[in-house]
Symmetry: C2
Subunit: 155 residues, 2 copies
DNA sequence: GGATAACCGACCAATCGAGTAGGATTTAGA
DNA sequence: TCTAAATCCTACTCGATTGGTCGGTTATCC
């Protein structure tokens, strides 16, 4: 499995925030109910999203979370990276600030690591998919809550 | 991390087999030594490759492993899938025989799973990278053993 | 001053990754 | 026929990660 449920749940959380029409904060409990996910686990995930600056929080009664930017300015590579950490295909594979990649085996001595070519291509493919998809794409794909019952069902 | 060292080691093993000029089987201990990987762990990995029909084995003295097909007829999606199992970006994501994808949340009731679009794109990117790279590509990239000491160093 | 809700950290069970260990079986060659 | 070299197979360990739970603290609206 490439990603864990952290990414899955976190993305669904972001989509849920993105499909809210108003500008009022949404309580996490409403999201948990709508997506049928455990609230206390979502708390951990939303904390990562907040630290990454993707959502803002309002404390206290009638508080909650909202997107810190419009959904079409949020790309999924930010979201997934906030949730899962650095996206690298392989442990030995750390991108440097200059955009290059290092492979820890290269110092092994005699030759370039044979797998580097492969992982570079894989990472390119994943990156392209993630950065080429915005939260707005997913919100639109999910549909603007035209379904049977309202998501929050609150108030 | 998208993949574990199983894929890393397994691919390096395949490359090592692919760069052997002759048609004689290569002992796993020679590969382990050349790549500095634990022999007993490689045994597990090569077993998977054998079950997937990617390598053939010769038992007994002077036995070993060889590719079951020419390197340019082996694509990396076969190799990685043999080592890591089904390549799906997410647990809920199982491709059906017809090439479609199922998302277990879809039966949740009211709407399509919002994340499906994203994971479909990611999987597409990974698949394209893996199936577009052949073992021969990696063998060539690694270079035809022009380095200091011979790999096997045996006989 | 409640109720509501974000925040925070500790804890826990199950699974998986990475590797070890030990033996059984097959085969080439002396 | 015996032995060394190799594949093959199963079981085990040990640590890290996942997917949670729980209890408590702080902030804010009414």
């Amino acid at each position: 499995m490439l990603f864990s449920t952290k990414a899955e749940y976190g993305v669904r959380l972001m989509v849920e925030l993105g499909r809210q029409p108003g500008s009022e904060p949404v309580a996490l409990s409403a999201v948990a109910e709508a997506e049928r996910l455990p609230l206390s686990y979502l708390e951990h995930l939303v904390a990562k999203l907040r630290q990454a600056g993707l959502v803002t929080s309002t404390r206290g009664a009638h508080g909650g979370y909202q997107l810190s930017r419009p959904a079409d300015e949020i790309t999924m590579d930010e979201v997934v990276e906030a949730l899962e950490g650095q996206i690298a295909p392989m442990e030995c594979f750390h991108p440097t600030p200059e955009g290059k990649v290092l492979c820890s085996h290269e110092s092994d001595g005699d030759r370039a690591c044979a797998t580097k070519l492969l992982w570079t291509r894989v990472q390119g493919g994943v990156n392209k998919a993630l950065s080429g998809t915005s939260l707005a794409d997913l919100v639109e794909f999910a549909g603007p809550r035209e379904s049977k019952q309202s998501v929050g069902s609150a108030v």
